[in-house]
Subunit: 302 residues, 2 copies
């Protein structure tokens, strides 16, 4: 089953409806609502053997299941409001698994002000599947889609990239909500995505939706310690999955001031710029400019 083909199929076969400002295909859905704020919904599932190993501590699975959804809200520029969760479990599993999962989820829910407001627990004969849905609000109905950028915009990324699975960051990352708020206050972001499939692939998503190309400066890509320790640090930063950092575009006239005035602890790196679509995705490195390697992370079945 080709996931991207399927997603395209679903986008093409899902009718629109009045009030749905952003439907399937972005990081979250956005709905017009009575009042000044739009409702924002995002949902993600994590599966034993695919997104976490069978021996993983349930607390970190619960934390991750909510935080990867909060990362989607951050990528939309939306504030968390509430979440729901479903958990499909084998009946022979100790109840401590579900309690641990819940504890991790609630810990994240409290820390990030996104209360758990509902859910379902069901029985499966196979791998554990946990699904979390987050409800957010977009003040004044303004959100950051993937499709709002233009050629000429400057590309930034939060944090450091690569090696998230090797370092354990994929279980302990902090969704970039504070960073999102700082950016929203400035009003300069034209498009945003959270990096879950690797920089190269998620940049491709943003460019496709914005109808642009991009040129990335190799020396500007912020490498994590785990990426620097990898056999191919660049490939790790471009292709490893589950960074859960924000990749975003800003109006070119706002880039210098943003870089200069950024005061949060999380690093902010200016990594390149968007180009006309016919230029494709390129990487400017010591040996010149070449096509950006088509690296990207797909979850194995373990």
């Amino acid at each position: 089953m080709a996931e991207l083909d399927l997603i395209r199929y679903i986008r093409e076969h899902t009718p629109g409806a009045p009030g749905v400002l952003v439907g399937p295909g972005d990081d979250a859905a956005v709905l017009a609502w009575a009042g000044a704020d739009a409702v924002v919904l995002a949902t993600d599932a994590v599966v034993e053997g695919t997104h976490f190993a069978s021996g993983a501590a349930p607390e970190v699975v619960g934390w991750k299941a909510l935080c990867e959804n909060l990362s989607d809200l951050a990528a939309m520029g939306a504030e968390p409001v509430a979440c729901t969760a479903t958990l499909a479990l084998r009946p022979e599993l100790p109840e401590s698994f579900a309690r641990g999962f819940h504890a991790g989820l609630v810990r994240a829910a409290e820390r990030f002000a996104c209360p758990l407001v509902g859910g379902d627990v069901v029985t499966t004969a196979g791998p554990i599947v946990a699904t979390v849905t987050v409800l957010g609000r977009a003040p004044g109905s303004a959100v950051w889609t993937r499709g709002g950028a233009r050629a000429g915009d400057t590309l930034f990324v939060t944090g450091e990239l690569g090696g998230s699975l090797a370092s354990g960051k994929h279980f302990s990352f902090v969704p970039r909500l504070e960073e999102m708020r700082a950016l929203r206050e400035r009003g300069c972001v034209t498009a945003c995505i959270d990096i879950s499939d690797g920089l190269a692939r998620d940049l491709g998503h943003l460019c496709r939706e914005s109808s642009t190309g991009a040129e990335i400066e190799q020396a500007s890509i912020p490498l994590s310690a785990a990426a620097r320790a990898a056999a191919d640090p660049l490939a790790s930063a471009l292709g490893d999955g589950e960074d859960f950092e924000l990749l975003f575009a800003v109006q070119p006239g706002s880039a210098d001031a943003l870089a200069r005035e950024w005061s949060l602890a999380t690093p902010l790196a200016r990594i390149g710029r968007l180009t006309p679509p016919e230029e494709g995705l390129r990487l400017a490195g010591p040996g010149g400019t070449r096509p950006l390697p088509d690296l990207g992370y797909e979850h194995p079945v373990g």
Copy 2:
């Protein structure tokens, strides 16, 4: 793993938050919102081998996955707004499964005006797990919880009960949204639940939340054709799962007019009344009044 113990645990260990009007434990979550309407969220998962057989047509699985959530919205007195879905699939499954699931879900989404606005497709090595989350709105923030009824209120049920799995109704039922609207217009409902675990068990949920007992008249229970064909029709109507009918309480002074003026095609049956809590759950039959059998449906693992 005892599901009810776990649900209690979750309710007790999930912090409340400002704006959460109804959190875990009812049919759906309710959140105060800017504007006159509250946001309502419900979520449910269906699992291959638990809620549907491996050979089930994916279209009916998709239909059911959304409709059981819409039944939860109906039970809250809430209007559907939008839904999201996640699907965990084995990679060797043909893509036609996911497309069929999506087609069934979208068919229900169009029929009941609840557009699909987002989702996730992930890989599992085991049984298929589909999770749907619905977003609804409660006009004027008025909802029907399970806990709003009082001793003396009259109990009604929509439709006919029992034999849903035998007859296939569990795959083709129509969520009781029209009936909900007719009831909401009258303003007489004090508590409501949809019957998914069988009348006896779901009545128990309503009574526990409302701090009441109940007395049901055996002759008034509407038996489905499948229940009448069963070895024990009463046990089928009391204990079979997945009826997806509404069980609700109304103020005693409104019961006669409701029964007299009900004009929808779906039958409405007055089946009993709520009593003080110390009287427990009772069944009035030809041989006198006895405790209501503690029947109820739990999904097997198949």
